[in-house]
Amino acid sequence: MADQAPSAPLLSVRDLHVKFPTERGTVNAVNGVSFDLYEGKTLAIVGESGSGKSVTAKTLMNLLPRTARVSGEVTYDGRDVRALAAEKVKHFFGVQMTMVFQDPMTSLNPVKKVGEQIAETLRYHLGRSRSEALEEAVELLDVVGMPEPARRVTQYPHELSGGLRQRVVIAMALACQPRLLIADEPTTAVDVTVQKHLLDLLDELRRDRGMSMILITHDLGVAHGRADDVAVMYAGRVVETADARTLFFDMRHPYTEALLRSIPRIDDPVHHRLDPIPGRPPELIDPPDECAFAPRCIYAQSDCLGGVPELSGLVGLHRFACLHPTGTERGMAAMSSNRAAGVTAAGLPVTGSGGGSG
């Protein structure tokens, strides 16, 4: 394949679908996800449990169970990633592209010294000798800010705190100089002071090494501070994607707006009444042919129930999948007609005070 022009994305995902057959029916975990990631950038994928964000990440890393049915294109630096996976190509996953998981305790081997676990990666992928690999492991631990790295390599995971364990996992991920790091809820299991250190570290590594990063998180605050671009997922689809500033301050999708409105913020007044999203996320088995957010959406009109809205706009720009976007005239009209009726087209009661930025 020819070299990519400088403007070509490092990773490009087109119309990705992932289905899991289960006893209760087929779970449509990912339904047509597309995005681009450029060299040196961080894309945050934000969503709640069941939104498909982790399944998307695992698909990229070829970590899905065999029962999963995948379709769509994933291109990394001009190479077809799904074909690489099918050919069982060595030294791609874990080398070019690596992943850091949520719980460091389950991604480390509990009965193996951490130095050896890092060295194992180097020996397998890069053919280092045992002693070279152990030396490099110490250097890597130093890079990720581990105090006393020479002593730590001889310790077992249970001897380390959660924050230090996660540093070991990050060191392993960096071992082969990846160009893309996928971090799946990397700080969800740790305390806030530790979270800050880990996110600072990931930022620094990305900058120093020119890596690209996909940061998967349920925490909008984390996405806001750390990402260049953000994709919001709901029920297996990207419902809105934009650069971080646009997404947080000039969003178009009612779900993005409702999510941001529902979380308590540190500068809100004490006992500030929260504005929750009514209802709960939809079932992913046999979803109805309508906007998945419509039953919970205060903007919903009858056309929202007539089919799933497409993500409009060009890839790479501000895109959203909504027929009556917030902050537009159509959105305002939808809101005022729902308010006047006291109910949305999907049957959700609307009170005068609820939501609506206009």
Binding site: E48, K196, I266, P276
Partner: protein, 335 residues
């Protein structure tokens, strides 16, 4: 604090719960002990929501569990309506417990998976029926309705509900005995973002409707600020800072409180982001640091901090108490 002292206790008639010099040790083998809670002192007045905030290992959950005697109290007092719960045993303890109920972090595993949710909610009433007065189907229906779970689903079992619904059922169960105090231990941490606000609002509504006094434990500073009238900040088994919510968030004085506020993804405007740069090694609770327990990570620590344990002192005349040798000077307008 990361210290001791009683300055934060209030001399009022409506103090419902007073925890004084509470100590909880857990054996850790080879005659070592985990100092989970060390001389913690605070009080809660009737109708108040007290937030207890801190990171894992700070002892916040152990304090809550000690109050309802789910763990043994090593030393200290837990005065509930003037009675010391620490010394109660057997029938006396059993009689107090309905008045102090608890909801837990994991809403699904805290419900018995084999029982219908109606029976889960009714359990306490079935045990206490004769003492608390007659109860009926209507009472369960009313509770389910109050927490927003349709009564017609009463025959279903917990696994048929979502996490948010299970937390509502847990709240109904806690409220069934008409408690005075509700202890909430990380009640929304396991829930999705869009569901958290529903549960937080529900807790506020239940508090108002049933006249509850609430102890709210969380690691999430934004959530605690939203629900609490007064806040206790804990670190490694000790109290750092206590005060009205407005005081703590507008003038945080303890370096640890400030570090927490600076570490959250969208830091509080009252602190500088660099104040969050404390080491990420929490000292061992079996061998806690001398003096102020926070001194090993504290950017303001001096020699005295490693030698002398700070005692809580009031800041000006505000409802704000800090145990620190070098509290961050805050402008006190009323001084």
């Amino acid at each position: 604090m990361a210290g001791t002292g009683h300055a934060q206790l209030r001399d009022r008639d409506d103090v419902l719960l007073r925890v004084k010099d509470l100590v909880v040790h857990f054996p850790a083998g080879r005659r070592r002990v985990v100092h989970a809670v060390s001389e913690v002192t605070f009080d809660v007045v009737s109708g108040e929501t007290l937030g207890i905030v801190g990171e894992s290992g700070c002892g916040k959950s152990t304090v809550a569990r000690a109050i309802i005697r789910l763990v043994d109290i090593t030393a200290g007092e837990v005065l509930y309506e003037g009675r010391d719960l620490a010394g109660l045993e057997g029938e006396d303890l059993r009689r107090v417990r309905p008045q102090v109920q608890m909801i837990f972090q994991d809403p699904i595993s805290s419900l018995n998976p084999r029982r219908r949710v109606r029976d889960v909610i009714a359990e306490g009433l079935a045990v206490w029926g004769d003492d608390i007065g007659s109860w009926s189907r209507d009472r369960i229906d009313e509770l389910m309705d109050a927490v927003g779970v349709e009564a017609r689903y009463g025959a279903r079992r917990p696994h048929e509900f979502s996490g948010g619904q299970c937390q509502r059922i847990g709240i109904a169960r806690a409220l069934a005995l008409d408690p005075k105090v509700l202890i909430c231990d990380e009640p929304v941490s396991a829930l999705d973002v869009s569901i958290q606000a529903q549960i937080l609002n529900l807790l506020q509504d239940m508090k108002r409707r049933y006249g509850l006094t609430v102890l709210f434990i969380s690691h999430d500073l934004s959530v605690v600020k939203n629900v609490s009238d007064r806040i206790v900040v804990m670190y490694l088994g000790k109290v750092c800072e206590i005060g009205s919510t407005a005081e703590i968030y507008s003038h945080p004085a303890h370096p640890y409180t400030r570090a927490l506020l600076a570490s959250i993804p969208e830091p509080a405007p009252t602190v500088d982001v660099s104040e969050g740069d404390i080491g990420d090694e929490l000292p061992s609770a079996t061998d806690p640091p001398s003096g102020c327990r926070f001194h090993t990570r504290c950017p303001r620590a001096t020699d005295v901090c490693g030698e002398v344990e700070p005692v809580s002192e009031q800041i000006g005349d505000a409802d704000h108490y800090v145990a620190c040798h070098h509290p961050v000077a805050v402008e006190i307008t009323a001084r």
